[in-house]
């Protein structure tokens, strides 16, 4: 009864490429264990991890603050894959249990049923590797994205060699590709102490820990180990600048009770804090909360780890990092001390060259060349007269956080600076949302070219070029050229 039109596109549109009972984002310890548990429970499981990250992304500090201190080893993807596998033995167990493991694959968007997206073809997560992007359906999804670096700026932080503790840990322990030899660590909490011990284990010299408060902040046993290794603690001190050359940092200058001290080093590691990596969950619309004891902005989760998105849970560091009750005040103290020790022209947003004075003066980016006295007549004070500071507004006006790294390096300090200037407590600091894609993905990879051959063949017919006047039965025969010649369209 029905005569099928060979060139009709109905039914040829792609659906999600595959479907798993359980998808786990992040193959750290928590994620790998969740994947293994899922496989043991008989589920079909997909485990993805964005590591090894492409070297050009690492150079723009995606997803961690690498500060260009990785060795040439990261340029060889095969070697990185081997290293990652050898440093995470659990992955082998996962393989054996039939978990599909995709490394070097990032999750750029999560689309779970909720108002606005309720009738997507099920729940979807957008994935991309070095060659393609695709959508995967799932019943359950576990985000185990870990933590990201909490970054505060100081004069000279915008040069190679200033990096984050999470990035250092990744380079030391999972990539075995850290290029530094002698490091100075900011902070003395558990994170800083563990970072120091890890560095020492890997034969890296630790020139000192800088602590803004009067005494060491972390666990006493850890502190004793660090002290026993002969690592000095500079308490009540703050970095006032990092000096360097073409290869980046050569020394840091710190100011404390006893005045100014210079410490030679090639790397400054920010270990003041790590914060939960919530970008995927935030972009998907999961409900968030601020918790000082869990490291700042965290997804709201129930006892089972479920977020406000149906079927989506968060585990490990991205669900919250155990922190001291005054952790947010501690962040703020660091910011205040670093700010007092530097001038307003200290860069806040490296990508867009926004200084602290530019940010709080709400100035348009300098490269536009559009500054004038009348443009100067705006600043954060005048905006505050109209209501609390809105990081999205400041972002649009100054472009802080809108550059290549999309605020990965500056979002926390922008938020804290706005809070400080507005007289808000750190836990009320404005928060900028995330939007998909949460990883920078090339257009050529995002592009939806995955179409059935039947669609590609009929493309010119649908698009309205001259071939549209050619009867279907003549397409692909010698009569096709005749139709085109007769009916116009000489331009192609």
């Amino acid at each position: 009864m029905t005569i099928r039109d060979a060139y009709a596109l109905d039914g040829k549109l792609p659906s999600p490429d595959a479907r798993f009972d359980l998808v786990v984002i992040g193959a750290g310890p928590a994620g790998t264990e969740a994947a293994i548990a899922g496989a043991r429970a008989g589920k079909s499981v997909l485990l993805v991890d964005e590591n090894p990250v492409a070297p050009d992304l690492m150079r723009t500090d995606v997803p961690l603050f690498y500060g260009l201190r990785m060795t040439g080893a990261v340029e060889t993807p095969e070697r990185m894959l081997e290293t990652l596998l050898s440093t995470n033995p659990l992955l082998e167990t996962a393989f054996e249990l039939g978990v599909e493991v995709l490394l070097g694959t990032s999750a750029w968007g999560l689309y779970a049923p909720q108002p606005g997206l309720a009738t997507l073809p099920g729940q979807l997560v957008g994935l991309a590797d070095a060659t393609r992007s695709w959508l995967i359906g799932f019943d359950e999804l576990v985000v185990a994205a870990g933590a990201r670096d909490f970054v505060l700026g100081f004069p000279g932080w915008d040069q190679p060699g200033v990096m984050g503790a999470m990035a250092l840990k990744m380079l030391l322990e999972r990539y075995e590709a850290f290029a530094g030899r002698r490091i100075v660590i900011l902070g003395s909490g558990d994170l800083a102490l563990r970072t120091a011990l890890a560095a020492l284990r890997h034969g890296i010299e630790v020139a000192g820990l800088i602590e803004v408060r009067a005494c060491v902040q972390g666990n006493a046993a850890l502190a004793a180990q660090v002290a026993a290794a002969g690592v000095p603690l500079f308490a009540g001190s703050v970095v006032t600048r990092a000096d360097g050359g073409a290869d980046g940092v050569k020394q840091v200058v710190i100011t404390g009770l006893s005045g100014e001290t210079s410490i030679a080093c090639d790397t400054v590691c920010l270990a003041i804090a790590a914060v939960p990596a919530i970008e995927l969950l935030a972009a998907a619309g999961a409900r968030l909360a601020v918790s000082a004891t869990r490291g700042g902005h965290v997804p709201m989760i129930d006892a089972a780890g479920l977020t406000s998105l149906a079927g989506v849970s968060a585990i490990g560091d991205c669900a919250g990092i155990v922190s001291a009750p005054d952790s947010l005040a501690y962040h703020a103290e660091w910011l205040a001390a670093l700010a007092r020790g530097s001038t307003g022209d200290t860069i806040v947003c490296q990508c867009e060259s926004v200084s602290r004075a530019d940010l709080l003066g709400v100035q348009p980016p300098a490269y536009l060349g559009a500054r004038s006295e009348c443009m100067a007549a705006r600043n954060i004070d005048t905006l505050l007269a109209d209501g609390p500071p809105d990081q999205d507004q400041i972002k649009r006006l100054t472009r802080a956080g809108m550059g290549l790294c999309q605020g990965r390096r500056c979002r926390d300090q922008v938020s804290l600076l706005l809070a400080a200037e507005a007289g808000l407590a750190p836990d009320a600091a404005p928060f900028t949302g995330y939007r998909a894609p949460v990883r920078p993905i090339p257009l050529g990879i995002l592009a939806d070219w995955a179409e059935a051959p039947g669609m590609s063949d009929g493309w010119d017919v649908w698009f309205g070029v001259p071939a549209q006047w050619t009867p279907y039965r003549d397409i692909g025969t010698e009569r096709e050229a005749m139709h085109i010649a007769i009916l116009g369209g000489g331009h192609i």
């Binding site: 039914g11 549109l13 108002p115 606005g116």
Partner: protein, 85 residues
């Protein structure tokens, strides 16, 4: 992106379908002018449930009546359009 369950073809991607208009704007030819204009052109533009006429334009070409929520996008029903409905 919606997944629309065409009663004739089964679940298909929304790209195969055209949204035509809200059902409220479908009128007969014998409606007085003032009412015609009001019903044809103005919209409730519902923020919530909405009854709409769609067409499976790149499929079976059937006209469909779809009950849909404009905020959550939940599709409550899809039926072949009956002019009297």
């Amino acid at each position: 992106m919606l997944l629309i369950n065409c009663p004739l073809c089964g679940p298909r991607a929304q790209a195969e379908f055209n949204f035509e208009r809200p059902v409220e704007t479908i009128i007969g030819v014998d409606v007085p002018t003032a009412e015609l204009v009001e019903r044809l052109y103005t919209r409730t533009n519902a923020r919530g449930p909405s009854a709409e006429l769609w067409r499976h334009a790149r499929g079976c070409r059937a006209w469909l009546r779809i009950e849909r929520h404009t905020v959550t996008h939940v599709i409550a029903s899809v039926a072949v359009w009956e002019p009297q409905s």
